[in-house]
Amino acid sequence: MGGRRDRLGTAAVLAVPAAFLGVFFAVPATTIVLTGLRPGGDWDLGAVGDVLGSASTRRVAWFTLWQAVVSTALTVAVALPAAWLVGRVRFPGRSVVLAALVVPFVLPTVVVGTAFLAVLGPDGPVAAVAGWVGVDLDLRRTATAVIVAHVFFNYAVVARTVGTAWLAVDPAAEEAARTLGADRWQAFRMVTLPRLRPAIAGAASIVFLFTFTSFGVVKILGGPRIATIEVEIHRLTTQLLDLRTAAVLSLLQVAAVVAALALHRRAGRPQGVGRLAAGRSALRRPRGRERLAVGLTLASAGLLLGGPIATLVWRSFDTASGPGLLHYRTLGTIGRGRALFVPPLEAVRNSLAFGAAAAVTALVVGGLAAVGLRRLGGRARGLADSTIMLPLGVSAVTVGFGFLVALDEPPLDLRTSPVLIPAAQAVIAIPFVVRSLLPALDAVPPRLTDAAAVLGASPRRAWWEVQARLLRRPALGALGFAYAIALGEFGATVFIARADAPTVPVAIFRSLSQPGALNVGQAMALSTILLVLTAGVVLVVDRIADARIGGF
């Protein structure tokens, strides 16, 4: 390896993702931060000290940090039994349950927030249960509500990442420990847990990243008294046009995200020792008391994940004259005074089309990035890998407002171009694509390529015959997951979606901002459709790719 030609090749491969992320992410975000820090062209570095020293910044930063830590710890604790289910247990309906786990992760926060309001509010089931023991409970606008919703959203990240790592741990080692006299818990703690630790740490740092930068959940469930840094950036930018403070807060958030990513990188890869040989399965039917554990895990997951979703689905059928299809039947027509300029059903079509474009873009750009990163190797790879994750940590409003200022001149006056929607969605999906493909690329045995070369295949032919074949499934998995992400993406899309081409999340949001039962009902019906679509996509992906959804 090495050599000029190789390095040139790597650079060429990485140029595409670099250009893409540059235009649609880095340049806009940097421009808006610079607008805040260089008003009129002179650096205003005093802003950094002013903002960081202010009491309100400290309050916001402190809340952001502690809720993220608590949310992360709780998510890991609650989802670990589900990870065991994913990694060890064969049970009826397994693939459906695995797909269902991911649905919350890709649902738009507007939708989930609304459902949680119903569940946690004074008329909801939680208050009813508390009422039996004589406690008057209203969890809306509390940190508790925010944290519970965070667990809901990120459950799948832990369950599936750790579960997949668990699948790869050979149960024989644990069995050996038990033969040597260890009890079940000791065997788990001494043998399996150390092998899961990198996966747990990796999943935890990703959950931390998501909860630290949380926006919609905090806005809807936390009420106006609590704010994360991201919520504060949004308020400062859109309402007060205080770009100076917003810029400093953006930098603060990026610093925290970079720290979390560094932690993620250090968590490393699962150890090779005790790995399950290919072709063997660690899954088996539960026996004896394990059945109870399976039942309890499924029941708790059903309650936590299913509760809000069931509320949502129920409300989509709940009309003034009893349960019915009214909200669905009216989706195809455009009424007077409706919040949308098109029949809501058209939003479904837009979402599917934009989502497909975004998924293909994310696969191509992310795929090239993964190939390039693989060729880079070493420290450079680690750094570049983290850089690609940054879009997940920078606020959508920063990028959205950045589009307005940065992309306003030909040939790049893209501000109102429909291209911007799938592009913005792709930026969010690319990190997931890269995360899915990199391990798959790493897993291609070099001997196979060598063998092909020995047999006389040209390098291109060898790549095509060997790598491309082995990568097809992971690539398809990444494509599908990118599709699901794009379908549910809201933060960036809402800035750029055109009135005559709303996506489903945007349509839901607009319907919810109009009075009248029919509009709410339609929002719930659209949410249910979105839910079914994303679950369907994930189910298909699961069938064809392995369980490493999103690469986490």
Binding site: T35, G121, L241, I334, L352, A353, A356, L512
Partner: protein
């Protein structure tokens, strides 16, 4: 499942739908009519046939660009000053007016149609902005909810400070919500620049609830909205929310489930202006004229649930279930521009911290 079948399953519906949607855009590209862009807030709405009538009359196509709520829209316009995203901006209201005028966002245009408009609504004598509609932000109450609590509807802002109304009111955060700001301004107008603070202290003692936006307050906390999960019988909303409840009810209603407190309203006037830097100033002027035309003005009530600024017939539901306050609160836009941020800061300290 084979990979090919899976791929087909994933992408086919999207491609199919995308394909059948594209047929009309291709033909529209052909040179022909000028397209101008109308930048609006997300609550803007217009009937298709009304917009089509404009195109038919003038040959000008109108593209709509919703840009978030009114505050966010104006801030985006300020950021893109000189290189605007559109040609005309609609939805600037009187509490944001001065900020936009200070930034020189608009070019002046005095529409001949202004003759029909109440001169009191023309807040900018230079005509950089043109009034298009008016709305009233008012307290709404849940008729059944108040009755169940054994309360009469309040008749003034001061009533809400009465301990009898403890735990009944939900408002919006004025720093993130336009009706929230309007309501704060109403209290400033009522209790004076040095008196409103005490009123809000009393409201806080009365357990006022604060939601981030209108949706959260109206659907999340207010008990009177259809499909709401809330338990507060009084909310800050619009004078036209009761007719909206009737019009959008799933089963026909004889009477609105909610009512409006007449003595609590703050008037919002919404303006449109031609964005400086437009390449289509002439077409933009025609659009401003159209926004004041009877065709558009008559469409306003049932699309945006606000009142027209010229004399047109109002829909029956408006007359029957709506309310037009005789003497709403209204502050001088210059005072608002000067004090707004300070008031919001003070309010935040009093009510939220």
């Amino acid at each position: 499942m084979t990979i090919r079948r899976a791929l087909a399953l994933l992408l086919a519906p999207a491609l199919l739908l995308a394909a059948c949607g594209d047929d009309d855009t291709a033909t529209r590209r052909d040179d022909g009519p000028v397209t101008i862009t109308l930048v609006t807030h997300d609550s803007f709405d217009v009937s298709d046939e009304v917009l089509a009538a404009f195109t038919e009359e003038t040959g000008i196509e109108v593209r709509l660009l919703p840009s978030g709520d009114a505050g966010s829209m104006v801030n985006q316009a300020i950021l893109t000053k000189g290189s605007p995203q559109g040609d005309v901006l609609f939805g600037l209201d009187n509490s944001l007016l001065s900020r936009a005028l200070e930034e020189d966002l608009f070019v002046a245009y005095e529409s001949p149609a202004l003759d029909e408009v109440d001169p009191e609504l023309i807040l900018d004598p230079e005509h950089r902005v043109t009034p298009i509609d008016t709305g009233d932000v008012c307290l709404n109450y849940d008729k059944a909810g108040l009755e169940a609590a054994g309360l009469q509807p309040p008749t003034s802002l001061a009533d809400l400070a009465d301990p009898a109304y403890a735990g009944t009111l939900v408002v919006q955060d004025p720093s993130t919500s336009s009706p929230g700001l309007a309501y704060l301004l109403a209290t400033v107008a009522e209790f004076g620049e040095d008196g409103w603070q005490d009123h809000w202290r009393a409201l806080r003692a009365n357990d006022v609830e604060v939601a981030a936006g209108w949706e959260e307050a109206y659907y999340g906390s207010f008990s009177g909205a259809a499909g709401s999960s809330g338990d507060r019988p009084i909310v800050v909303s619009y004078a036209t929310s009761p007719p909206a409840e009737v019009i959008f009810a799933e089963e026909p209603l004889d009477e609105a489930p909610t009512g409006v407190v007449e003595g609590s309203c703050y008037r919002q006037i919404e303006f449109a202006g031609i964005l400086a830097g437009t390449a289509h100033e002439d077409e933009a002027r025609q659009l401003i004229d159209f926004l004041l035309s009877p065709t558009f003005q008559a469409d306003i009530p049932l699309t945006m649930f606000v009142h027209p600024v010229i004399d047109v017939d109002l829909p029956e539901e408006f007359v029957e279930h709506g309310l037009r306050p005789e003497d709403p609160y209204l502050l001088d836009p210059d005072v608002v521009a000067e004090q707004r941020d300070e008031w919001i800061r003070e309010w935040t300290e009093i009510v939220l911290r």
